[in-house]
Amino acid sequence: MNKKNLNILQVENLEMHFVQKNKRIKAINDVSFYVHKGETFGFVGESGCGKSATCKTILRLLPENGEVVRGSILYNGINLLEQSEKQMRKIRGKEIGMIFQEPMTALNPVLKIKEQMYEQFLGSDMTEQQKHDKAIEMLRLVGIPSPETRLNEYIHQYSGGMRQRAMIAVTLAAEPKLLLADEPTTALDVTIQDQIIRLIEALKEKLGMSMILITHDLGVVSEMCDRVAVMYAGSIVEMADTQTLFAYPRHPYTEGLMQSLPKDNGERGKLNPIQGMPPDLSRLEEGCSFFPRCKYASKVCGTTVPQLREIAQEHWVGCHHAEHMEHAIGLICLEDAQHREGRT
């Protein structure tokens, strides 16, 4: 793919399996994408589609049974898959940081926030005072009041909204260049979600980070992302810049996702969840993985795996019928997208 020098991250043909006793779960299937410097790249899809696994693979945080079968992950030109554990440790945190979904489980319950923040400064030559100042600055930055006392507290002593702020502060204390945010708002109250989204957005600008945002919430995507990849059953099925994707979705699954959104113009009903279940990743059959649920499927879909093709500039679709989808779905969704843009 192009503009290589501008990409902070370039993932190519990544394939990852979870190996279990007598089966292989193909969690990531031939996934390729890139993230420009300074942009926010979104991953959307149902849970279990491989978006979180992709994140964990980038940081090489897979559990023992996760096995990268092939592919490369280039971070500023370095292939992360070829780095030693020791080299990875230097990249984790300082170069690539990660925000987890649930702060209550991602922060160690029996260590003070201070200690968990200071872990970001291990190996640096900062003095105790500098560490303290930096930690206070971070808590202040994410909007936690009275940071001096908060620093010496445990995560369970924080209130709901403050918890996610604390984790963001801990992650960002190391000033990563690339931020992986794995469903950062899913576990939060609806009222707080918006605040956190805005906070992440603002900090990203302020610290000049690039970001990969994982979510199943298309609303968040349309608000925050420059470009989006839609994942299904371990593969990217569609990838484009956000406006194009919302205006001209070309994959039937993308269409399904958009139709399953509740419309917020007060119109009730017309919620169309996609029929059926995602396939069992240990038994992927011949053909398109979306075939059993697809209402536009034809014979070829059941026999041949569709390759991700660039059907317009920077608009990639993995569907045999992508070109013919224009009329089938474009019109339906355009209306929605316009409505959506009018709102933001």
């Binding site: 984790r92 987890f100 029996v110 260590l111 872990e119 291990l122 992650t171 190391a174």
Partner: protein, 313 residues
């Protein structure tokens, strides 16, 4: 602080339990079927001796008066006289209690030494050969009776290899420590089996916690992950169990001391019951109960110190 009032509350709650136990221990000698004096002195004792014994034990007075006397003696730490050793129970305790405490501490030391590395290893290598071996050990330790393990150890290390003394308690402290090793190991094996199992399961659970992944995502080194994030958290429930198992080891001293002929309060309890030396039995039962109550309270406090999420209330 709040903690102090909790400890005070718990302490007050212990008092009724202690009082009931005291009553039970007092009644114990009176619950024995037949005449306690005859039980103590034997079937063939002459009548006048029996009568004298009854008066000496205060058995001719009303029950409530007897209890009053009993309580008064307790407060003055007067536990009566051992008929077997012909000396005050307090004197016996001065010699015997330290042996049991040392034995229990030695066992706990071995338990920690065995079970923490093994539990950690098994948890980190779940389902690998190392885990299978450790689980095998644990299954064995749970099924093997401690008196038998003790006798086998004696047979191997004392009788055949002659590394340790066969019998009892040495004359000087060097010998005494040596004679604590096998009995300490004996009770440690049974307790370790349980602790290893507990720690292994904790490690298996905690290893896949988000906070371990998150710490890794910060680039924290392996040693620090193990110590501060995995072991630190896994040890919270294990330490509590360990503290409670202190009591099993203490109670198990009854068996261990008998096997190894150690002059502690465990073997004293058994011998006193067989010899119907009831003053000693009463006193020892009370001591065991006090230790249990105190250790239970300390365990609660320890738990709240280890886990900041727990508040004492």
């Amino acid at each position: 602080m709040n903690n102090f009032s909790y400890v005070l509350k718990r302490f007050l709650q212990m008092i009724p339990v202690f009082i009931i136990v005291t009553v039970l221990v007092f009644l114990m000698i009176r619950l024995i079927p037949g005449d306690p004096a005859r039980v103590i002195l034997g079937e063939k004792a002459p009548l006048e001796k029996l009568a004298a014994k009854r008066v000496e034990m205060g058995l001719d007075k009303p029950l409530i008066v007897q209890f009053g006397i009993y309580l008064k003696d307790l407060v003055h730490l007067n536990f009566g006289e051992s008929i077997r050793y012909n000396q005050p129970v307090v004197e016996l305790l001065k010699v015997r209690l330290p042996v049991t405490l040392l034995l229990t501490l030695t066992s706990m030391f071995f338990t920690v030494l065995i079970s923490i590395p093994l539990g950690y290893l098994a948890g980190m290598k779940k389902d690998k050969p190392a885990d299978q071996v450790v689980r095998g050990f644990s299954l064995f330790g749970l099924s093997a009776p401690s008196f038998w393990v003790g006798m086998i150890l004696l047979m191997i290390f004392s009788v055949h290899l002659k590394w340790f003394p066969i019998n009892g308690w040495g004359a000087d402290w060097g010998d005494r420590l040596k004679s604590l090793i096998l009995p300490g190991l004996t009770s440690a094996i049974g307790v370790s089996a349980l602790i290893v199992r507990n720690l292994r399961n904790n490690i298996v659970d905690i290893k896949q916690m988000d906070y371990v992944s998150f710490a890794k995502s910060k680039g924290v080194g392996r040693l620090r992950i193990c110590l501060r994030h995995i072991i630190r958290n896994a040890l919270i429930p294990t330490t509590t169990l360990l503290a409670l198992k202190f009591l099993s080891v203490l109670g198990g001293s009854v068996v261990t001391e008998t096997v190894f002929n150690l002059p502690g309060i465990g073997s004293l309890l058994v011998n006193s019951i067989l010899a119907r030396d009831y003053a000693v039995v009463q006193c020892l039962v009370l001591i065991f109960v006090v230790v249990v109550l105190v250790v239970n309270l300390l365990t609660d406090i320890l738990y709240s110190v280890l886990d900041p999420r727990v508040t004492l209330q």
